[in-house]
Symmetry: C2
Subunit: 362 residues, 2 copies
Amino acid sequence: MPATRRAALPPRLASAEPGQGVTLADVALAAKVSLATASRVFSHPQLVREATAQRVHEAAQRLSFRPNLLGAKLRAQRTRIIGVMLPTLDNAVFAECWRGIEESAMAAGYSLMLVTSNYDPARETERVEYLLRHRVDGMVLTVADASDSTVLDQLDRESVPYVLAYNQVPAEGAVAGRHSVSVDNRTSACEGVNALIAAGHRRIAVISGAFTASDRARQRFAGYADAMRAHGLPVLDPVNLPSHTASNAAQIRALMDGGQAPTAFFCTNDLLAIGVISDLKRLGLRVPRDVSVLGYDGIALGALVEPPLATVVQPNADIGAHAIGELLQRLEAVPPAANGHATLLPHAIRIEGTVSAPAMPA
Amino acid sequence: MPATRRAALPPRLASAEPGQGVTLADVALAAKVSLATASRVFSHPQLVREATAQRVHEAAQRLSFRPNLLGAKLRAQRTRIIGVMLPTLDNAVFAECWRGIEESAMAAGYSLMLVTSNYDPARETERVEYLLRHRVDGMVLTVADASDSTVLDQLDRESVPYVLAYNQVPAEGAVAGRHSVSVDNRTSACEGVNALIAAGHRRIAVISGAFTASDRARQRFAGYADAMRAHGLPVLDPVNLPSHTASNAAQIRALMDGGQAPTAFFCTNDLLAIGVISDLKRLGLRVPRDVSVLGYDGIALGALVEPPLATVVQPNADIGAHAIGELLQRLEAVPPAANGHATLLPHAIRIEGTVSAPAMPA
DNA sequence: ATGAAAGCGCTAACAC
DNA sequence: GTGTTAGCGCTTTCAT
């Protein structure tokens, strides 16, 4: 029987698709070197003589060789793929974050696999398992609630390297050495509310998404409470909206119609804030003349609308970039890297546009 | 010498990380079946006896076996990964589209690899090469300009299956059998502008991004021109803004200050429209009372603001879902699938909020 | 219905 | 510096 190679597999289309069938072995053959040498030319060029490398490169070029990353990954036992799990891209916060993630990962020669969880813990588990099957080297993720997360517990148990983005691990007694990159949610929210108070507001309501779906929202509410208490002002119960899509005018109206209508709203994210502003307008109220609104996130769109959205600004792309940076450091560190750490990036308070002094100071 | 396996590779951490080191061979051993049988249990269950399958599943469970997709992919010569290239996620249009893409790809058991091109043809080429190295089975992509695209030419040359999203291939004389999923940009834009005309507008300006970065923008402008000509109205030169981020108030002001100020603006995308509305407000003009604004895209945010953004609505998630659907059909079709085809999804015109009759009808 | 064995494309010891 | 060789984890003929 003649030495027919590749007999077991379905015959490849013998078409002129460059690179599709050309393997490193073909290149080696054409360059009259061994497979090993050809491989080295690409992965460890310093180990091979200049002239040889040249020949290999020429052959590769001529044959339109395209390395099959799968083979390399399988053999190398590392994929150089980073799994990314974000709640949703429909919120610009995460879309902006992705930009930072993609840019720094690509720059470092890493690939990305993106999944979204839609703030749903069950889906988080499913998607993470999926990433794990792809043998991602590590992950950057935002979970619904880092303080009660099946998926993080699992990742810890399996010692999968990961860095949280937006979720903020507690500064002291850091849980299981977790890493996170975020702003200081509580402090920054507190500063934002302080600015509201400084503008003369005394009665400030908080509008938030579901606390269970976002530990950030809880932390930001805590920051609000800090600020209010520090000034001896009443901490109002948060209004937890199920979503920011439908009109929540009814709930807003109820708040405004009560005898003690707030003069300002602190919304735990910008999308919510934009929705609330619209609801207020539909109620015939003017922002900020009748009511002030402060958001949180600093999405680019907020600066685009008129009046501009007052908000607590997070460096979203930076959060993504830093998360990748820290992950890579952990992945490539020879000693098992430093311990768990919460990296806090600087925030900024943007008070303008939708925030002004209250109509009739208390 | 004892039969030491795995001698060549760096020793794995002998930790209790479930699934990380357990291979199918281990499972087979534990279940007392051959590797082949174990494999079949997962990929072709109907070929194996129920009882045997049961044993294998138990063993897999017990050992926390996690299949290594890399091995499977390498062997199978297909990755079940789809490459996705979008211009940017910062525009909600594409973020919404991603939702449709992810949902339908996951449902069909495919994985995704996302890259963004930032409307830059050079980066398009680079990112596509990257996807190709990962041996994606096919791609869903939006290119800057489908009628002049290095990257599409390359894909055609290499017969890589792909489906365009948003880019619309011409209905007749379809180029090289390309597939696309989009709305009918020209017709829908024409209808949108017709609605403006029906509302009483005679002088309508077009605000657009760079035409070179978006064939859609060109097609939409053509739709505008169709509508204007059909009514014997003047086709104004488009105002091409470099971006939608900075304030373009200066250019808007120039337009409004000219003797022949437009009473309505047609913006080729919603983000632009939102920016223009803000610019107009800063100029002291009220929308829609003084000037009407019509957008294009139908991003969710447009319905959230007050007044709601009048716009030409595309089914963004559906576009993504359909693109995946068509791609899968091509990938899995036994005969090399039907010929190039432009799938047109239905659009809708939402005239409300930012569009009304002009202040003083011409 | 099950097993034995070849090999996907590539890398990294280990020799020379 | 370069070649030889043994796999990475899996699927799939082919034989039984």
